[in-house]
């Protein structure tokens, strides 16, 4: 995880903050700071979730917020994912700005009705008469030894639903900026936070700023190949790029940051320049985020520039196993990414 701190915050598309003090914060601290700012700035903001009060959240993301803002604004919910998510939807529909935390993204399977049938569709079904400004946070991903029901990467499920926006920050800077953007957004925004990133540190400006939803970041410019990644795959792709540079391969690494809507322009411009594409994602390879990125490029003007077949490096077709070696084998590691890039660049796909 050491590489995460090396991920430069994307500056080009970020609201500039003149003279803001920049500190090193962890990803979890950055999210907590964003929630505190949202609570301070807008009395309509409430946090809801299981054990987010005095316990501080299963991953200590809400931390001490209940002591700062009180239990009416940092609300522990019973273990009722469907009901809790639905209460957040109903509250958003009628004037509050709830930020709802799922304890693990896997538990959202219990709440899909309210997310997919209600939150995503209410505005459209009612002809634009309402909006549902709810933010939902999903601690996701493998690597913690929590096995098959606490380690999934389900973001592609949500990315398949018109009406939802889905973001997946990789850095503390983006975790804060995307959360604040989500709170301001009039539509439901799903934030997939990778559990392995919670303790990683990076530069975070003080105060309020937003990272626009729908904009990817080129976090390492390169000439030879475009590596598209998100969440914890971004530091792994950057580590791979560092190794590849020693072999004379100059990889461009793009952090998707948002998976719905995808940033078409940034992806197409990059592939048109590098002529090669490797998609890296932790979710199961079949029908995943990388499948969509691949298809987007294949259908675009960038297709004519391709010098090699597109390659996907995705999660294995298996539930996440418990044993550490098996768990690692189930999702892309730095060596897998580097190997795939070498094959693409050297024409041995």
């Amino acid at each position: 995880m050491s590489a995460a701190a090396a991920v430069a915050p994307a500056t080009a598309s970020t609201t500039p903050i003149t003279g803001a003090v920049v500190r090193d914060l962890s990803y979890a601290e950055a999210i907590r700071e964003a929630m505190a700012i949202a609570l301070e700035r807008d009395p309509r903001v409430v946090l809801m979730g299981e054990d987010i009060g005095v316990y501080g959240g299963a991953f200590q993301v809400t931390g001490d917020l209940v002591h700062r803002f009180g239990p009416d604004r940092v609300m522990d919910t019973p273990i009722s994912e469907l009901g809790g998510a639905g209460v957040a939807v109903g509250a958003a529909l009628t004037g509050l700005r709830p930020i709802f935390e799922f304890q693990f993204s896997d538990f959202a399977t219990l709440a899909m009705e309210q997310i997919v049938n209600q939150a995503a569709k209410l505005r459209f079904m009612l002809g634009g008469a309402v909006s549902v400004p709810v933010v939902m946070r999903f601690p996701a991903g493998s690597g913690t030894g929590a096995a098959a029901q606490h380690s999934q990467s389900l973001e592609a499920w949500f990315g398949h639903v018109p009406g939802l926006k889905v973001v997946q920050p990789a850095t503390p800077h983006d975790a804060k900026g995307l959360l604040l953007a989500a709170v301001h957004d009039p539509d439901p925004v799903m934030i997939f936070e990778h559990k392995l990133l919670y303790k990683t540190k990076g530069p975070v400006p003080e105060g309020h700023y937003t990272v626009p939803i729908g904009e990817a970041a080129v976090c390492r410019p390169g000439r030879d190949v475009t590596v598209v990644a998100s969440a914890v795959m971004v530091p792994r792709a950057l580590d791979a790029a560092t190794q590849l540079a020693a072999d004379g391969i100059d990889a461009e690494v793009i952090d998707l940051r948002t998976i719905r809507p995808l940033d078409r322009e940034t992806l197409i411009a990059s592939v048109a320049k590098t002529t090669r594409l490797v998609c890296v994602y932790e979710g199961v390879k079949t029908l995943g985020v990388g499948a969509e990125v691949s298809a987007l490029i294949a259908e675009s003007e960038a297709f004519d520039y391709l010098d090699a077949p597109i390659v996907r490096v995705g999660g294995a077709e298996v539930p996440i196993p418990y044993s550490p070696e098996l768990e690692k084998a189930a999702v892309p590691q730095t060596a897998d990414i580097a190997a795939a890039v070498r094959r693409v660049v050297r024409g041995a796909v």
């Binding site: 309509r44 409430v46 009416d72 919910t77 019973p78 009722s80 469907l82 009901g83 809790g84 998510a85 639905g86 209460v87 957040a88 939807v89 109903g90 509250a91 958003a92 529909l93 009628t94 004037g95 509050l96 709830p98 009705e113 309210q114 049938n117 209600q118 209410l122 505005r123 459209f124 079904m125 009612l126 002809g127 634009g128 008469a129 309402v130 909006s131 018109p162 009406g163 926006k165 009039p186 539509d187």
Partner: protein, 336 residues
């Protein structure tokens, strides 16, 4: 007014003035004629898809909304036309929605199962059984947090009371003492499955005990009984005493939807309930108390018929949505 005689009168007669009561009767009649006209339009191929008619259940819709004002909110169900009209919707825009027209409540995007009128506090019908329950609790949370004084009536059917959403919602409303009325319209069947086959608990209202809230079972075809139970529950909710569960025992005369062949119930059973027509019953109550005569009723019938035919004409003559705008309102247009 004789105090003793007054006390013996039904709640609605004691509590509401003649105009309010006649208006309540008019709304019941409007629901009945709206659904008959919607069914007729469907049979003649003017409306596609399906619809779930609530003919026979008008007293629970109108009775539960009687203690509410426009700032109070409701959530409704797939069988929600009555709730919509009871909360003050314009039937012309409802017909337009059925006909899939741009002038409909949802601009033709929602149809029968998604009509809402937020300006009147109607947060919408819902195509998912139990889908509106947590949303109603969320709306009640907003009311409490923002101190608006609003109360939420959450309509659902006996079918929904076996959904997880029912139990999770009642529990959360109870622990947070939220201003919400859970109004169950027990029409005896969840599609084809009879209530007594679907639940080991005989009365939905008995489930209130599990969530430490009052549970009341009333004759859902008696507008006065429904209004009385809801009036008491609204009063509790407004002073911060939390939620209530009210079970209105009623019956739908028509099938579940247009595919229903009525194989799970008998003609005799249906006829028994048709004889308990809530609209005729409430009209008779008003006549018994000198608040309505036969001429008044005819005038009311004619004005409802006029409103229905004007609504159908409006829907027929309204423009279809433009396919160029297919994806409008999937997301908020941030540039607008």
């Amino acid at each position: 007014m004789q105090p003793v005689a007054m006390a013996n009168r039904p709640f609605a007669i004691r509590h509401y003035d003649a105009d309010t009561l006649r208006n309540a009767l008019r709304r019941m009649l409007l629901i009945r004629r709206f659904e008959e006209a919607a069914e007729d339009s469907y049979m003649r191929g003017l409306v596609h898809g399906t619809m779930h008619l609530s003919i026979g259940q008008e007293a629970s819709a109108v009775g539960a909304c009687l203690p509410l004002d426009d700032t109070d909110m409701i959530t409704s169900t797939h069988r929600g036309h009555g709730h919509c009209i009871a909360k003050g919707a314009d039937v012309a825009r409802m017909f337009a929605e059925f006909f899939g027209k741009e002038t409909g409540y949802c601009r033709g995007r929602g149809g029968s199962m998604h009509i809402a009128d937020v300006s009147k506090g109607n947060l919408g019908a819902n195509g998912i059984v139990g889908g509106g329950l947590p949303i109603a609790v969320g709306a009640a949370l907003t009311a409490k947090r923002l101190g608006t004084g609003a109360v939420v009536v959450c309509f659902f059917g006996d079918g929904a009371n076996n959904e997880g959403a029912f139990h999770e919602s009642l529990n959360m409303a109870a622990i947070w003492k939220l201003p919400v009325l859970f109004v169950c319209e027990n029409n005896h069947y969840g599609m084809s499955m009879a209530m007594d086959r679907a639940s080991a608990v005989a009365a939905v209202a008995d489930r209130a005990a599990a969530y430490a809230m009052p549970g009341v079972r009333v004759d859902g075809n008696d507008l006065s009984a429904v209004a009385e139970a809801c009036h008491d529950a609204v009063a509790r909710a407004r002073v911060g005493d939390g939620p209530s569960l009210i079970e209105c025992v009623t019956y739908r005369w028509r099938g579940h939807s247009k595919s229903d062949r009525n194989r799970y119930r008998t003609k005799e059973e249906i006829e028994t309930w048709v004889a308990r027509d809530p609209v005729r019953r409430f009209a008779a109550l008003l006549m018994d108390h000198g608040l309505l005569n036969a001429t008044d009723f005819d005038v009311l019938e004619r004005s409802v018929a006029d409103e229905i035919s004007a609504g159908v004409a409006f829907a027929k003559s309204s423009p279809n949505p433009d396919p160029v705008l297919l994806t409008r309102d999937v997301y908020t247009d941030l540039a607008a």
